[in-house]
Amino acid sequence: MTGGPEGEWRRLDPRTLLVTAAVLCGVAAGAGVPVAAGLSGGRPLWQAVGWVLAGAALLVACGTAADWIRCRRTRYLIGPERIDLHTGLLLLKHRSLARDRIRSVDLTANPLQRLLGLTKVRIGTGESTGGGESTLELELVTRAEGERLRRELLARPAASGTDPAHDGTLAVLDPRWIRYAPVSFVAPALGGAAAGAVMQVSEWFGAQAEVIDWIGDRFETVSLPWMIADLVLLATLAGAVGALGLWVEMWWNFRLEREPGGTLRVRRGLLTSRSVTLEERRLRGVERVEPLGVRLFGAARLDAVATGLTEDDDEKHTDLKALLPAAPRAVADRVAAEVLGETASPTSAPLAAHPRAARGRRLRRALAAVLLPAAVLAALGALLTPVLLYVAAGWTAVLVPLAVALALDAYRSLGHALSGGHLVTRSGTVRRSTVALRRTGIIGWTVKQSYFQRRAGLLTLTATTAAGEGAYDVLDAGEAQGLGLADRAVPGLLAPFLVPAETPEARPTSR
């Protein structure tokens, strides 16, 4: 059962067990404290603690034993053409990947694993079909072994048109970028989570009422609205601090490099170190994402549009496709150009605006979203109680200007262009996204027209691709404009199906 000179059957590192045991201890402690608190209500404290400790010991022992068996039964072989992985106790699994299909080798190590010099390895193929079956995970091996696997598996003859001049570092972290962390959507979410956590923990100890009373006492001298404002401010502050911490943990030591042989490598992380390698052959474009808060400060982040990042594991997905944290837009554009190998950055190319009818659609939709609930409220108010009438009036007065502003901004965001070898499309207001898609990566078109779009002379052009979300939209372009764009982006594909339009009103209707 031994392989050739290139390798032999290898096993996972035995120190994996230490990590598992430590993690299980943490889980046991986390679950044990509230359970002990709950049990101690009915019986003496020593008894409750005893029960919990026994349960914890059982959990840790069983978990570690199971992991020991998993470690013993897992082995892998890096052969000259294939890599094989055997796992499983009862259900024996044997998986085999052809080495030339391997597109990514990603290393992740959390602080505990780093302390022990271990790392998790994810070997992925470019296949988007088959879900998780196309990736192999080795959990865990030594860091040296992980690096060796990464180098060995991704080593390619550097023939495929690589340009040594383009190798090297494309971007490193500028600590000043941290100023964009508190304005992201993470901050309010973390603030809310912090407030929720305070309530939850106090409930475990049966002290929720006391906490609320205590908060009430602090704000005895101020009126209720001020108290709410103060609390919201406090939560926001906590969220901002949390966002800063998260940013540091996520992006510390960030480095985007192009390695010889045509791969991009992203390294980042303060406590959990992550190394993501992306073969440039898999890259079909980049997406410049500007969430509203970040956009107001003139910043943007970059994501890769690449094949083989499966959509089923969402969290890992975002983790793997990130190319650049929120950074000044000029930096994002420069990095995008370098990643895509263009001289002029596609993401900052001047975009063609969409017809004014698209603005009307956005305005109507925004107003409908505000006025329909207002109408329902008003109707209920007329029938039941006048209080609802005031609520409806307030709702309309506050939200109509906001909705109109967002709709106008959404219209301004719409745009498309052809920049070098890329199709560029932009849309969105709360999350404005500019996608530059490699024209050779477009594997089909979808033209969608609702009844109202047909009346307004608009269409939504969708470029399907094997990468990223699978399809990228050019929303509400003019009919001739959109079809012309598609025809120019992929010459010859659409042309046989295009006919001159007789009148501006000419609509593609069926016989």
Binding site: G470, L483, P504
Partner: protein, 166 residues
């Protein structure tokens, strides 16, 4: 945007099989019959709530019959398909019209599916998938022999066209 070179997308050449109208009608009828029967039986059994069960049943039945009479004929007019040597072109949808185009070189698989109802009407559905998770093209309601020929022709064409489909 009607410039001097204004263009539009012409509809694909071929209509689906005439029997598809019958197939769609049967589907509509079945989709209506199931909830109407359930409500009707319940209405017959539960006397106190009879009115409130039979009323929605009647409304559903009326709506379902109207849809059965109206939509399949419309769908027949708008569902069209075309296969050239370079591309597959499919148009579907009445209110939300959707035209899909995939080049031969990017086609990965060609499937023919025949459900029980389709077999009854001697129809088949051809699904053409590309490497995109959102790029599948479906041609419903083709004559089953035509569908088999089409699948064969597409497979042959795909094989003859170079490209790795991504």
């Amino acid at each position: 945007m009607a410039g001097e070179n204004a263009v539009r997308l012409r509809p694909p050449e071929n209509a689906v099989d005439r029997r598809a109208v019958g197939w769609w009608r049967t589907q509509c009828l079945l989709a209506t019959a199931v909830p109407v029967t359930v409500l009707g039986v319940l209405g017959a059994l539960i006397a106190p709530a009879r009115f409130w069960l039979l009323l929605p049943a009647a409304v559903l039945a009326a709506a379902g019959l109207a849809c059965t009479a109206f939509f399949p004929a419309w769908w027949y007019r708008v569902h069209r398909w075309e296969v050239t040597d370079e591309a597959v072109y499919v148009r579907t949808g009445a209110l939300w019209q959707e035209s899909r185009i995939a080049p031969m070189s990017r086609i990965q698989t060609v499937d023919t599916v025949r459900g029980p109802l389709e077999q009854l009407f001697r129809l088949a559905t051809v699904t053409v998938t590309t490497a995109s998770s959102k790029g599948a093209l479906r041609v419903e309601g083709l004559d089953h022999e035509l569908a088999a020929d089409l699948a064969e022709r597409l497979t042959a064409l795909t094989r003859a066209t170079p490209g790795d489909a991504t």
